[in-house]
């Protein structure tokens, strides 16, 4: 199977600061990779790079067949990102945000309601302005967006943060469901146990580079 992600000595900058200082990484298509590391290690920047939102300054990189040194617009349409900050528009409701996104991507807007129901944002929660949602509810809205959008590459930045126990289990189910459907998942986490449980591979970042890597507990080929 062709690798979904290949990075060699990848350096990326924020201003003049090298947030990524020579990352080597291979991610097989259809696998789940957890990225661990202390604050400031470069986890978020790595996800931004893989999403095509951060430019590659030096080294080489290929994500979903797209060269990171080239035009990244094609890549961005194949990627779904769950970031730290709530996505889309705080003034619109969760349902309106999802419908806007789906229309923009020429997808059926009916998928929005199904996705919101899956993550437990129904009734008032789906109709209220997104800025009134709690941190955990915003996270669920972000997951709903990825469920509705169904990208080939899922990038999740600390997806369990702000979620209650039920929410974290839901998140793990969603990750497993995405991988079972053929998507590749890369997620950043501060929870080594949970990360190892759901991943094929766990990568430890430090100082903007991969410090170590070990196998996760998720079997490589899941029916």
């Amino acid at each position: 199977m062709a690798p979904a992600v290949t990075l060699r000595a990848a350096v990326a900058l924020l201003g003049q600061f090298p947030v990524l200082a020579g990352v080597d990484l291979d991610v097989e298509e259809g696998s789940v990779v957890g990225v661990l590391g202390p604050n400031g290690a470069g986890k978020t920047s790595l996800l931004q790079l893989l999403a095509g939102l951060l430019a590659l300054r030096s080294g080489s990189g290929s994500v979903m067949g797209c060269d990171l040194m080239g035009d990244r617009r094609d890549l961005r349409q194949r990627v779904g990102l769950l970031g730290h900050s709530p996505a889309l528009y705080p003034e619109l409701s969760a349902a309106e945000n999802l419908r806007f996104g789906l229309r923009a991507m020429r997808r059926p807007v009916t998928d929005a309601a199904d996705a919101l129901e899956r993550v437990g944002l129904t009734g008032r929660l789906s109709a209220a302005p997104a800025r009134t949602l709690s941190a955990g509810q915003s996270r669920r809205m972000g997951l709903a967006w990825l469920l509705a959008r169904r990208p080939a590459l899922w990038l999740l930045d600390e997806p369990h943060a702000g979620l209650d126990i039920g929410g974290r289990d839901l998140c793990d189910e969603v990750i497993e469901q995405a991988a079972a459907g053929g998507a590749t998942v890369v997620f950043a986490s501060h929870d080594p146990e949970r990360a190892a449980k759901v991943s094929n591979q766990v990568v430890q970042l430090a100082g903007g580079a991969v410090a170590s890597s070990f196998e996760g507990q998720r079997p490589s080929h899941v029916a």
């Binding site: 951060l54 961005r76 970031g83 996505a87 528009y89 705080p90 003034e91 996104g101």
Partner: protein, 220 residues
Amino acid sequence: MWRDAVLVCGKDLRIELRTRVLLWQVVPFGVLTLVLFALALGPSTTELQRGAPGLLWLALLFASVLATTRSASIETPDGTRSSIRLLGLDAGGVFLGKAAALAAQLLVIAAVLELGLLVFFHVNAARLGIATPLELCAIAALAAVGTLYGAVVAGTDVAGTLLPLLVLPALAPVLIAGEKGTAAVLAGGGPGRWAIVLLVMAVAYLAVGTLLYGSLEEPT
């Protein structure tokens, strides 16, 4: 491109209807500007009528800077900008959509300012109505220029102070042509070539914006 333009325009207008920033902040600011101008000119009807064309366009210019800042700030939050970039919207469509939404808001502001002009500056309502084609061209130019410059400063820490410095010199031809055209109309003539100047400016900036907006949306 047009489909995305309609989508983005609808989204911006929906957000405006939800938040009412235009209604509660920008329009009152425009009216306040007219009142302050009237105070500065004094109570003489002759002076007020003579200054009316220029002050109308000056008030509209200042209000449009506020409206432009607001339009650009809709996509300022980090998470929002990242998410929008991943949607694959046509950049030209986004530009046209945002410009159309801004133009709709500027039409509302202009209508209120004209009412203010009738009340505070004693201008002739029928003559002012003849200036409508000129106004529409000017609003198209204001919206195109504002949307483009708004994108230039979007995401910077100094957007609030930098935008007026960048956009007002670019909008000065709108002020000049708008004032001269309106003055000509109020004096009994037609807007003449000034409407054409504004139309050319609007078309030029809409075309350039459609081509260049994608460059501004490209992240690091």
